[in-house]
Each structure stands twice: as structure tokens, then as C-alpha cells.
């Protein structure tokens, strides 16, 4: 079943609200999809399911999921206390032409300029079909978040530029980190070594740290100040 692309951000949000609270199996049934029993062999299934349910067109990896609206869809698995289970994939990193890239025209910036976050409750032992979809949150980085992302991106790109891939691990970056993409960990791509010579290196991608996305959710749902009162737990 095909869902027409939303004509506006408001329509997209309304679709997200209508999905919220439903089980993954319910949404899959609407689309005649089968929910795999184990997502380790079907990574990204829930993301693709929700993209389809929301009417995302087929797109390219460097553009937002809803290009006409400039909105990227990000599903984010969270625990019942609102803590993200894992870091969030953003996009592949280009390792061979770092000198040509600018933050403003980068794929990371394009992807994170406006994100529709959809949390999915992911508890250990709960099969994928029984995971509950959360409320949508339309997020645009505020100035602080934007600055943090830009700083991390520049830092990471500088290291890529200088061929410091060997020393570049997931510990670098406060909001953004660079690490091999789980599903394609063995994939090799063009890069530059420390002497400036082209080499083949392990493909990597940009991820948002779970601590950063937790802050986004807390602020976006107005839970930050409530949580400090010790009277509200998400």
C-alpha cells in the first residue's frame, strides 16, 4: 500500500500523531508488511516502515527523507524512562574530499536542519511487533545545538582531512561522532592517509550521540525542567 507524500509539515505532523501510541504490528498490518521477529537481520525495518506509513518518497541517501518539506525522519528507540537505546545514524561520511566540504552544504547539516523524531519504545524482551510508537517531535536545532554540531563536524572533518582515521574513534565529538556503520562494517571506501596518499579505509558514518538525542527529546517534550523537580519522570 502506498501512502501519498504529505503536502505540508503540519500534515506530516498530524500523520505522526495518528501513528503515535500504535504498535509496530498495527502499522505493518495497515501496509501489509510482515514484521521480522529479529531486527538484527533487518536493521532499519522500523525506520522504513514509518517512512512508508508517513508517505516518504523514495529518495537519495544525502537528502532529507521528505525533500519537498526539508524534513528528515528519524526513528529513535527509547526505554520507558525516555533514554535513547543507541546512537542515531545520520549519514555516511565522505572520507576522500574533506577539503571540499562545508558545513552549510554538508549532508549532515542537510539531514539535521529539520528532523521529525519518532521515538519507539524498545524494551528488552519485547518483540519488534509489540513495540509502541511514540509521539512525533519536529526538531530544528537551536543555536546552542547548531553550534555544537558544527563544532563537532569541523573537528571530525579536520581529522579526516589530515588522514587521522586510525586515531579517530567514537569518543571524539560531544554531539556528533564518527564510527563504522554497523550493517556495513566491512565495507571499504576511498580515504586519505596521514601523508595525504589515497587509501582504502573502513567506511564510516556520522552518528548523533544518545546523550545528545536524549537532551533533544527532553527539551522537545518539555521534560527538562519537569525532571529537575523530581516529580516527573518521562
Amino acid at each position: 500500500m502506498l501512502v501519498a507524500p504529505p503536502q505540508s509539515v503540519a500534515e506530516l505532523m498530524e500523520r505522526g500523531i495518528q501513528l503515535s501510541g500504535r504498535l509496530v504490528s498495527d502499522v505493518a498490518a495497515d501496509l501489509d508488511w510482515q514484521v521480522p521477529a529479529d531486527l538484527r537481520r533487518a536493521k532499519g525495518f522500523i525506520g522504513r516502515l514509518l517512512e512508508t506509513a508517513l508517505g516518504a518518497p523514495e529518495g537519495n541517501a544525502q537528502a532529507p527523507d521528505f525533500p519537498a518539506l526539508g524534513v528528515e525522519l528519524k526513528t529513535i528507540p527509547i526505554r520507558a524512562d525516555g533514554r535513547p537505546v543507541e546512537s542515531t545514524w545520520v549519514t555516511r561520511a565522505s572520507l576522500h574530499d574533506a577539503a571540499e566540504q562545508r558545513w552549510e552544504s554538508s549532508a549532515v547539516h542537510a539531514k539535521l536542519r529539520c528532523v521529525l523524531w519518532i521515538p519507539v519504545l524498545t524494551e528488552p524482551g519485547v518483540p519488534p511487533a509489540d513495540r509502541r510508537i511514540g509521539s512525533p517531535l519536529l526538531w530544528r536545532p537551536d543555536s546552542v545545538e547548531e553550534a555544537m554540531l558544527r563544532r563537532d563536524w569541523h573537528d571530525l572533518m579536520e581529522r579526516i582531512l589530515h588522514g587521522e582515521l586510525a586515531d579517530l574513534d567514537a569518543k571524539v565529538g560531544d554531539a556528533l561522532q564518527l564510527r563504522p556503520k554497523g550493517a556495513t562494517a566491512q565495507e571499504r571506501t576511498h580515504a586519505v592517509d596521514i601523508d595525504g596518499r589515497p587509501v582504502m579505509a573502513q567506511a564510516r558514518g556520522f552518528y548523533l550521540r544518545a546523550s545528545f538525542t536524549r537532551g533533544v527529546l527532553l527539551r522537545g517534550f518539555g521534560l527538562a525542567e519537569r525532571s529537575t523537580s523530581a516529580t516527573v519522570s518521562p
Partner: protein, 677 residues
């Protein structure tokens, strides 16, 4: 044509009644029971200019009633004529009926009484040397003779209904009939504070109301020590002049018998007046509770018809709407304008303080007659009246920035005991939104009130006591504010304001929550978005036996959401007053039984209670549950967020349930506690 079976061919069945029988029938409308006799005779005495009336009863008036007044009395011919039906000195033509200035006017009372009882009348005018004594029974001719008697009228009625046994059977016990008469005397006493009234039965005095100057004193005497300290003055001057003394919301009764209405000095029963008063109290009173007190209405000439019923206890207003409005505003004004609930500390302390409590002689309390005072003025002569308070008339200073919802979030927890403030602070009020409130009275229409908000501005926060009470210093007194009640009042105010602007601020759930309910409860709740949405709930179906909560009012804590949803479901299903029933059970029961019947019940309740009233009730309950509770520590910063909002709301002195939210203990009283000498 059908001919009656036993009709005589020569005489018709319809015949003119004997005048005595006709009088007895007519008497039934005027003389229903002893209290109606007393009422008619007191009205005659009042019309005769009496300043003192004594009522003596035997067995609640069943056996004997005697009314003695010091009015201007009657001459022999007038006295005779007074017992003729439709003979009166009070009106001449029908035009005068709409501008009656006397209590009686129908000319029926004495004729009716004479037709069903034994009557002895002694009366004398001041200019006459001798009075006249008339005696008669059962409507027969009166016998008259000259007698020596005081100026005024002394009328004795014995053996009421002696000649109408059927009527006599309907009389209740002496105690019941006495109760009716006492209520009547109370009403008359309230209508005429300058009148001396005495009631005795079998030689024993039941009550004595000495002449007093004002309604406040008389109301204190009538309603007694228990109620008197809680009465406040009501005034209103629109087309209809309104005044009275009504109880604080904390003093109420289960029936409206403690609520006395006087229209142009006449005690009446009137639904419009009662409705206006109860509606003005609104959520301050629980359902089926009524305030206590008296309300007097003075109508412009020609706007009220008192000739509705022979007993004259009912009136008809030309414009009930105008009357309702005038009364509602006056009562609401009183509720807004008398926020300070002063406690009698001295003399009311229990054991631990008894040693320091001054004896009544050393610390005399105001005599009862002086207990009542004009609205907002202390009854203690040694306590400064509100008018002298600093900042009492300070203009309201809007400060919206300080009233963000975040400012009202519950406290940072962790501190303990008394939480002092480093620097004195005052609180500029946030004006209450100018909206038509749930009582139908627009805040902008309420006359400007005296310095309630000004007083609030002058408060200096001292700290929290017992994790329950906020303590302030206003310079002349210690002010105690119940943290839960005050917060609850502010939250309710926000709810009411939010209803006008599209709904209460809501908190979207990160992961929508599924709340199990019975199928009927779920369906009923989902069918009521007009109730749930303005409160801040966003609900969706979640199977047949649950609802999904996507958003909830931002004042609630997450762990309260399930319970509140069940309460709302219970409210929708059962009209449950406090929403205490478990909707899951209620729904299950309804589903296990007759679902149709449950739906019918819901519909019936829907008809009985307007959506607005139910929403207001739900909001009040929600505000109560969301408010900070006793036992929670609040910080000075939290208090700083609360107070401007509290200063800006009406009725800040009461929680939405009508309980006092604050008390003011004057320094003089505190001083006497500390140093009785």
C-alpha cells in the same frame, strides 16, 4: 345529554354556598397552619407601626396564639370592619397592587382566621380613653364591649380549626409547628432589625430579639455564635438594591433553610434568588450544600408583584434576569472582597497553650452584637481595619513574565524544615483574565474591589512550616497560606482562563500511554472530547477496553495520568462527584450488566448537568490533584512563582472547594499569646 342519576327534576345540583362555608374554604388558602396565622398577624402589627411585638403560643399555636403589639390600634368601627372579608385600610384600587407599601392588603386574614378559630381582640388607639374588645368564633357575629387596655392591639386565637376537623388532622406536632413559627420569627427579625420581637410558649421564652440598629447585629443574633463569625456583608446597588449577610463558603448546610430572602421586607421563597446565590458561590460550595444567611432585595416600584398567592410568600419579578444578575454580582462581590479569614487565636487554643491563654476577663472578646462588621473590617477593636493596611489600595501591577507555567512547577525537593528567604519580597499580582467565569459573572463587571491584591503585594515571605503552610509577614500580622489550597486556586484559575483560549497547556507523551478501562467507560470517555480536550488531554482509541493518552495537562505528573483518566471516565459514566469510583470497575459492571441502561444513565446525567458545569467540576478536581500537596517542601523560588498568580485571582482566600486557604493572625493576638499579662 346525560342526566345525573340522583338529580332532582326540580332543583339543580349547583347551589350557592353558605357564606360561613365559603369563608372556611377561603381560609384554607390564607390560614394553612399556626405559623400562617402568626405571619398574618405580625404583618398587621407591622402595618400598624408596631415597634414591639410579643407572640405567645400554646402547643406550637395549635391550642392558642396571642400577638401583642404597640401599634396604633383601631377604633371600634375599624375593629369591627377588620373582620369583614376584603375589608382593608391598605389599598383602594388595583393600581396600587404593584406599589404596595404595606405587608397586608388583601383584607382576608382576620376574616379567614375568625372563620376557623375562636378570636378575642382588644385594641385601643392612643387618643381613645377606652379600647374595644371583640370576641367571636367560627365566623359568627362578633360581640363587642368597651375595655380598658394598653395602646396597640392584643389578638388571641384559640382552638385553631376547631370547626374544621379535617384541617385539624393535618396539623403536625407542637414541636413541628413551633419550628415553623420560629423560622418565621427569625425572618421577620431579619427584615426589621429595629423591631423588638419576643416569642414564648407555655410561659417559657423561646427567643427574644431586642431592637438593634443594623442587619449585621440582627443576623448575628438570629444565626447564633456558630455561624455569626463567618457571616460577611453583601451589598449591591443596581436597579435592585441588594444587601445582606451571607456565610463564608466554609459555613454551609445541607438544605436552603438557612438561607432567608426578604423582598421589600417580606420573607419569600423564590427560586430565582436562591439560584442566583448558589450560582455565585459556584464551585466554592459542594453540590447540594447551601450558604447560610439573609439577603434583602429592595425593588423599584412596579417591578415586583407580591399578589401571587394569598400567603404572600411568593413574588413574581418583572425581570427575573435582572434580579438574578443583581444578586449574583452582589454575592460574588462579597466573596471576592472578603478574602481574609481571621482566626480567633486568643481563647481558642487548646491544651498546650492554655496556660498562656488570657482569661475571658483579661481578653474580652467582642460582644456578639458587635461580632458582625462591614465587609472586610475586623471585628476586633484592637485590630487595625483593612483600610489602614499598607498598600491596601495599591494598583495592580501586571507582571505576566513571572507567571509562566514553569514558575508554578512544584518545588525543587530536598531542603527540610523552615525554608527562609534571604530578602523581603513583595508580589505584584497577575491580573485574573477578564473572562466570563464559570459562574456566569464577568470579572470585568464585578465592581472594583478593595485592596486584596494590594495586601498580597505587601506580604513578605518568611518560610514554610510543617511542609504545609507558607508563612508571611504583612507588617501588622502573620499571614498563613495553605500551600495546597493556594496552588489549587491558581491552577483552577489557569484552567478557567485556558478554557477561553482553546484549552489548557498540554504535555505530549513521549510514548503515548494506554490506560485500561472498561469498554463502556472507554467509549464514553472518547465520546467526550469537549470535556477532555479543554483540560489538556488528547485521547485516542486503544482497542475496546482502553484509551490511549497522547497528551495530558502540563500541571499533572506522569504518574497521576492513569488515575485522572479513570476519574474522568467515572465522571462521564457515573457523574461521580469526586470521581472516586474506579471507572474500570464501573465500566466493567456496566458492561457486565445492561450496557444500554448504562448509556441511558449517562444520557440522563448529561441532561441534568450542563457540559460547562461538568467541565468546571472536572477542572476543579484536576487542579486539586495537580496542586502541590501538604508534605511537600517548596522553595522560596516556587513561592515567588505562586504569589503573583495568587494575588491576581479572585477568591484567592478559598480553595476551589470553599475551604479557607489563608488566615491572618494579628500581631496583637500573637502578643497576647506570648505575654498574657
Amino acid at each position: 345529554m346525560v342526566r345525573p342519576v340522583n338529580s332532582s327534576p326540580t332543583h339543580g345540583r349547583i347551589r350557592q354556598l353558605d357564606p360561613a362555608v365559603a369563608n372556611q374554604i377561603a381560609a384554607g388558602e390564607v390560614v394553612e397552619r399556626p405559623s400562617s396565622v402568626v405571619k398574618e398577624l405580625i404583618e398587621n402589627s407591622l402595618d400598624a407601626g408596631a415597634t414591639q411585638i410579643t407572640i405567645r403560643l400554646q402547643e406550637g399555636g395549635r391550642v392558642g396564639i396571642q400577638i401583642i403589639d404597640d401599634g396604633h390600634g383601631m377604633g371600634p368601627s375599624d375593629a369591627h370592619l377588620a373582620f369583614a372579608r376584603h375589608a382593608t385600610s391598605k389599598i383602594v384600587d388595583a393600581d396600587e397592587l404593584m406599589r404596595i407599601g404595606t405587608y397586608g392588603f388583601r383584607g382576608e386574614a382576620l376574616a379567614s382566621i375568625l372563620s376557623v378559630a375562636r378570636v378575642v381582640l382588644c385594641t385601643r388607639r392612643a387618643d381613645d380613653e377606652l379600647g374595644v374588645r371583640l370576641e367571636g368564633a367560627g365566623g359568627c357575629e362578633l360581640t363587642a364591649r368597651a375595655v380598658s387596655c394598653p395602646v396597640g392591639t392584643d389578638l388571641r386565637i384559640d382552638d385553631l380549626f376547631f370547626n374544621v376537623p379535617a384541617r385539624q388532622k393535618f396539623l403536625r406536632t407542637a414541636a413541628t409547628e413551633l419550628g415553623h413559627i420560629i423560622r418565621l420569627i427569625d425572618a421577620v427579625a431579619l427584615a426589621h432589625p429595629g423591631l423588638r420581637l419576643e416569642l414564648t410558649q407555655g410561659g417559657r421564652r423561646i427567643c427574644l430579639y431586642p431592637a438593634v440598629e443594623g442587619l449585621a447585629e440582627r443576623a448575628a443574633a438570629v444565626f447564633g455564635d456558630e455561624v455569626a463569625p463567618h457571616l460577611y456583608g453583601v451589598t449591591g446597588a443596581e436597579d435592585y438594591a441588594v444587601d445582606g449577610q451571607l456565610s463564608a463558603p466554609s459555613t454551609h448546610r445541607g438544605s436552603a433553610t438557612g438561607l432567608i430572602f426578604l423582598v421589600d421586607g417580606r420573607p419569600v421563597r423564590d427560586r430565582t434568588l436562591q439560584h442566583a446565590v448558589v450560582q455565585a458561590y459556584g464551585a466554592l460550595l459542594s453540590s447540594r450544600r447551601f450558604p447560610v444567611g439573609v439577603l434583602r432585595l429592595r425593588c423599584p416600584p412596579g417591578t415586583v408583584d407580591v399578589n401571587v398567592h394569598p400567603a404572600k410568600t411568593e413574588v413574581r419579578f418583572v425581570s427575573s434576569q435582572a434580579v438574578h444578575r443583581a444578586v449574583g454580582r452582589a454575592v460574588r462581590g462579597m466573596l471576592i472582597d472578603t478574602p481574609w479569614v481571621e482566626r480567633e487565636v486568643v481563647g481558642e487554643r487548646s491544651a498546650p497553650y492554655d496556660l498562656h491563654t488570657p482569661s475571658p476577663a483579661s481578653a474580652p472578646r467582642a460582644p456578639r452584637a458587635s461580632v458582625r462588621r462591614p465587609s472586610g473590617v475586623s471585628n476586633r477593636t484592637n485590630s487595625p481595619p483593612h483600610a489602614t493596611w499598607r498598600g491596601g489600595d495599591a494598583p495592580r501591577q501586571p507582571d505576566r513574565a513571572s507567571t509562566s507555567p514553569a514558575a508554578l512547577a512544584p518545588s525543587s525537593l530536598g531542603a527540610a524544615g523552615l525554608v527562609p528567604t534571604a530578602t523581603p519580597r513583595s508580589y505584584a499580582p497577575t491580573p485574573s483574565p477578564l473572562i466570563d467565569d464559570e459562574f456566569g459573572v464577568s470579572a470585568r463587571e464585578v465592581p472594583a474591589q478593595t485592596g486584596w491584591s494590594g495586601r498580597m503585594c505587601d506580604l513578605r515571605y518568611v518560610g514554610q512550616v510543617g511542609r504545609r503552610c507558607l508563612v508571611f509577614d504583612d507588617g501588622d500580622a502573620m499571614v498563613l497560606i495553605d500551600q495546597h489550597a493556594a496552588h489549587e486556586r491558581v491552577l483552577l484559575d489557569r484552567f478557567v482562563a485556558a478554557f477561553q483560549t482553546g484549552g489548557f497547556p498540554r504535555q505530549r507523551m513521549l510514548i503515548p500511554r494506554v490506560v485500561p478501562l472498561g469498554p463502556t467507560a472507554s467509549a464514553a470517555l472518547l465520546a467526550q472530547p469537549e470535556l477532555t480536550a479543554p483540560l489538556g488531554f488528547e485521547l485516542a482509541p486503544a482497542g475496546e477496553r482502553a484509551v490511549m493518552v497522547r497528551a495530558f495537562p502540563d500541571v499533572l505528573r506522569l504518574n497521576q495520568v492513569d488515575e485522572e483518566i479513570r476519574r474522568l471516565a467515572s465522571l462521564v459514566l457515573n457523574g461521580d462527584k469526586d470521581g472516586t469510583a474506579d471507572a474500570r470497575d464501573a465500566g466493567d459492571e456496566a458492561d457486565a450488566g445492561d450496557t444500554t441502561e448504562a448509556h441511558d444513565k449517562t444520557e440522563a446525567r448529561d441532561e441534568g448537568e450542563t457540559a460547562a458545569a461538568r467541565l468546571a467540576r472536572a477542572a476543579a478536581t484536576l487542579a486539586c490533584h495537580a496542586a502541590v500537596r501538604a508534605g511537600e517542601i517548596v522553595t522560596a523560588a516556587w513561592v515567588d512563582g505562586l504569589m503573583p498568580s495568587l494575588a491576581g485571582v479572585d477568591l484567592a482566600a478559598y480553595c476551589p472547594h470553599g475551604r479557607p486557604a489563608l488566615s491572618r493572625l494579628p500581631l496583637d493576638d500573637i502578643g497576647r499569646l506570648l505575654d498574657p499579662s
